[in-house]
Symmetry: D2
Subunit: 356 residues, 4 copies
């Protein structure tokens, strides 16, 4: 069950209908989950930001680096040109090249892109090498294509799926999580949706309750308890009409949500936030007839509610990734337990975080 | 009383002896507090990072921009050359020029600097214009000099002092706050100290307890409740031997501590983190006899405990600024109440955050 | 005489009518020149980007750091919010605070700004301490106000005026220089204008001719010949409708023009480029009635001709600053000779750079 | 023949013995050149920065973005951690993923890296799609491995080799070029070596002579003449002992060298500079026994001669790429002529740039 089903109410804003990134209209998510034999525990998650040919009709975007110890592909072009022109794919660290290969292949094969000779694949990753035989590089081009092609709107699978199949978060099984917030109509009525691939450490807090501290499960009590090559990938979608500059500001805020779960952006954790806008009228033609484009954009002064929404949705998406992930056994007999609800729920109760 | 005196225990690490930035040996803090008549509610806080002639013996430093809507002076040189060569001065927004003038004047007058013809004053600010007649620009060169010259080690005054005299935080009276963390000897035994000038908004959380939410006092419930031109200045000191690059990473982490208090780095909040290292052997001679310098630096892999320390100390410093600030009446009869302990302590009790 | 009057034709594009930043309609320039006694050789140059109340109707802008060893004020807010809200003022290094004080004062005094309690003064500087008694800080608030208030469209004074009064460039007398380029109508017909305050070193090249090399006057032949604390301030104006992101890209290109004069952005040279757009319809209201703004912007694909224009105009503006500056004697009997035309013109002739 | 063999003497500093990046001791370069049938005109160039296991003994590095419209892989980790842990590989745009795959594979297979589960491949690219069937993605893992494994010190092949096989520069055939500069002993005696993959446009200048202008061959005379999806990859090596921060500054200077050839960093040109230091004692152990490392670093004040060296070597490397590339016929019967020496040498003569 998701966090909210236990009575956890993170923040003060309202979630969207699905409490998922897919509450932002047009956003689709697909997973390929690879669980094979004793040691393959990995996968691919694709976020398709909008309908239609993304290369021909690009999407305003920005990528913020929370901690650059990671292999995310595509960042400089997104931030130079202010847009994204492919689906966003998440996978494991050593499968980034194959995922890029697949994304480029899909773009080349898409109708209308016959003359495409350059495309900027955006691929993020975290390291699932504790549970997964990551050196085996088991993700194939077909696996990536499947994640993109099966991407759908509606409910999003969370936990041990897709790129979250083999990840670890705060010493427990992490994975994919999602959440959303909807602004009141008086503030524009915009939706902010977040999806995360959680694979990082710190001292877990759930809606402010000091779960990691009470469980004695945290880094740096007197030595490095948790030495995972972690990372967190965060994707933020919104239908608010904002361009690259304000998307970058929005992306930067998502890190505060990570901080609220107890994450510390440790040295080994490559933390990135990819933000994009699906707003009508902001799509950027690859080759237009016109030298100019007319766009309607939100002013700086109206950004703050979106900032809060991104913080809340990121926090909840990470917590959802923990609640939705079961325990997992993998490579070398390594295993990671799920968030132990029998211990955690009483802690939440004790700290008064479960609402009826 | 400070937060910890009420039984609040933020984080899992130990504070230093004073739980203040001055736990980092050599760091001194001075305040000039200006409360005059009905409408002057402002001041200056100076952080002197180390002994001796700072211009001749510079200090490794970095400045991270959490949200650049502010007037902080000196950032590009600190980040280009990797060092700081003056005390750090905090004041109100419109007094930044005067503070720079004073800092430069002190540097010119210092013995040994007779040939100084260029100096990079680092001055931060937040906007105290609700309580203070900020347009009057009441801070004088003498006021700034006094803050620098009276800077001392030992206990640090908090609350409505110095640059925090007129600031507002989460709708309550904010001000100056400080805290520190000391790593266990097994992790190097380094100290991280933080001082803040708190003047920003969001939904207040105290050690994870949803104080702002319970009090119904937060931004964006359905409109902008809190329209202050805010900001938060955060100064992080450490005796760990780290250079500009890792100081920048450390500074970036401090923003997560701000996030944990419920801050959202709103559009109007200019949030900056200035980090420096006082480690022996890292001081950079203004004009050396040698083209090279030999330094002993902490490796990337050893940074994570410092990151956690910066997050915890920042969170606690902000909370201390609230606990230590009394109510204040100022310009135009405007008044801001202190954190209402009679309401807040029961909330903390209810959320089980007060330890005996 | 300006470079072009000698038959020097830098680049392949056409200059505007005045070959000055004021070819961009609405841009005004004013100077206060301070030459007093034996040792005051400094001043102020103000660039007023557009008509009207700049604080109430801000201008899209970006600031690129070529080399951050300088004291430029205002950068973080310009780059966070994407706009500029005051005139741009250039002066000497130690007069930045006074110039900020003056700019803020003017903004506060301007009609319509009665409630202004925060304003981001953009002030750049170079170090004229060889010829000028810079430690005396002789620039006054009145001097800065005079530069702003007397700013005018039309022909721009160059050489030893304003902020260029005491500067040195390639070992010769530098100063203020300006130039412009106008795109052909087929490429939009936009104008790019540049003004510089030149105070840096390297190996002078004039339109590709190796003047510094032939004269044997350059840095690093076998030691540091030229040890000035230099810098170059470059301001780029355009009427092309471009926002912060593309203005930043435009600003970055101006550094290539500096490189073409033989500049090397030496360690001690704080080189900054401030770019802004005066295009109709892009002005940003300080407090609007609407949460959104509709703007018509040039596409990325149309930027390249503007990039070339910025490079050419920057190169020519720097060369003009040298041609227009006479020799100057100043502090301590120090003197700097003007570009020695009797030597330079024959070199240009020899390298075939003078056109009839 | 290389530019210098025709009597062209770019700059004022002395080249190293080979006038190549391999003048920096330990640096090796390897090429795989793919010329097959009518339409395969591409390849791979590998720069191996130092001897030994690069993953276990990393190298200080930085990557500067001149214009981010490109697919360079590995940037965020290099800039976060300040080092590089693999060879640098250059290839065509759509072969970046395969090159990353190969680089990761080589690292995994290297003795001592049996536990490697994360590695940051640094792969740059330019787009050779005019002459090459880039959509065919003809570069294989084996091709990349061959370039790395055959990398050698000594003379470097230039022109239509490796990653330069199918590139175009200023409308002529570009390719690989290299050059170096050696500082006088009084300035440290350090060497700076540069290698480029040239594939960009502008108005060609050769040692200041306006070749493109005289030939009437340039962009933006009245329309876009040159619409190549270009780019320039620049790799800067030095044996000077400098860390990430000063390597970034050095990398930024290389763009000035590109500017001096007439390059404009056009919208479609993804221009990147990768800089690294081979200095003894700066190699960073992947997993050390010590939390700290002692290093001897050059001071900021000593950087300027290195800056000039990087600018000169970059300019000459680009010019060499043009002089060393023959004409090429490729995809769709497209052909690109070599720099037409019969026209160019007289122009250089006329502008007095050929020395006996």
């Amino acid at each position: 069950k998701r966090a909210r089903e236990f009575g956890i109410r993170i923040g003060v804003m309202q979630p969207g209908a699905l409490n998922a990134i897919t509450d932002v209209r047009g956003v689709k998510v697909g997973h390929t989950t690879l669980i094979k034999g004793d040691s393959i525990r990995t996968g691919v998650t694709a976020i398709v930001p909008a309908e239609g040919n993304l290369f021909q009709q690009k999407i305003p975007a920005a990528i913020f680096v929370g901690n650059g110890f990671g292999k995310l592909a595509g960042i400089t072009q997104v931030n130079e040109l202010g847009n994204i022109e492919t689906p966003i794919v998440l996978t494991n660290t050593l499968s980034v090249p194959i995922a890029m290969q697949a994304v480029a292949g899909l773009a080349m094969a898409e109708k209308g892109n016959e003359n495409l000779r350059s495309v900027n694949a955006v691929v993020g990753e975290t390291n699932d090498g504790y549970l997964n035989d990551i050196r085996g590089r088991h993700v194939s081009v077909t696996d990536v294509e499947a994640a993109v092609k099966t991407a759908a709107s509606g409910k999003v699978k969370e936990g041990n799926v897709g790129a979250g199949t083999g990840t670890i978060c705060f010493g427990f099984k992490g994975g994919i999580g999602t959440a959303s917030r909807k602004l009141p109509a008086s503030l524009g009525g915009y939706t902010v949706g977040v999806i995360v691939q959680s694979n990082f450490g710190g001292v877990l807090e759930i809606d402010g309750a000091p779960v990691g501290k009470v469980l004695g499960k945290f880094d740096f009590s007197d030595r490095l308890l948790n030495n995972v090559d972690g990372s967190c990938m965060i994707v933020v979608a919104t239908d608010a009409p904002i361009d690259h500059r304000n998307l970058m500001r929005l992306a930067q805020r998502a890190m505060l949500g990570l901080g609220k779960t107890g994450g510390i952006a440790s040295n080994g954790s490559g933390d990135y936030v990819i933000a994009f806008s699906t707003a009508e009228g902001l799509r950027i033609p690859h080759s237009g007839n016109s030298a100019t484009q007319t766009v309607t954009l939100l002013q700086n002064d109206s950004m703050s509610p979106l900032f809060m929404a991104a913080i809340e949705a990121t926090e909840e998406a990470i917590i959802n990734s923990l609640f939705m992930a079961g325990g997992m056994k993998g490579r070398n007999g390594n295993s990671v337990e799920a968030l132990p609800l029998t211990q955690v729920l009483p802690i939440l109760q004790k700290f008064n975080r479960l609402q009826p």
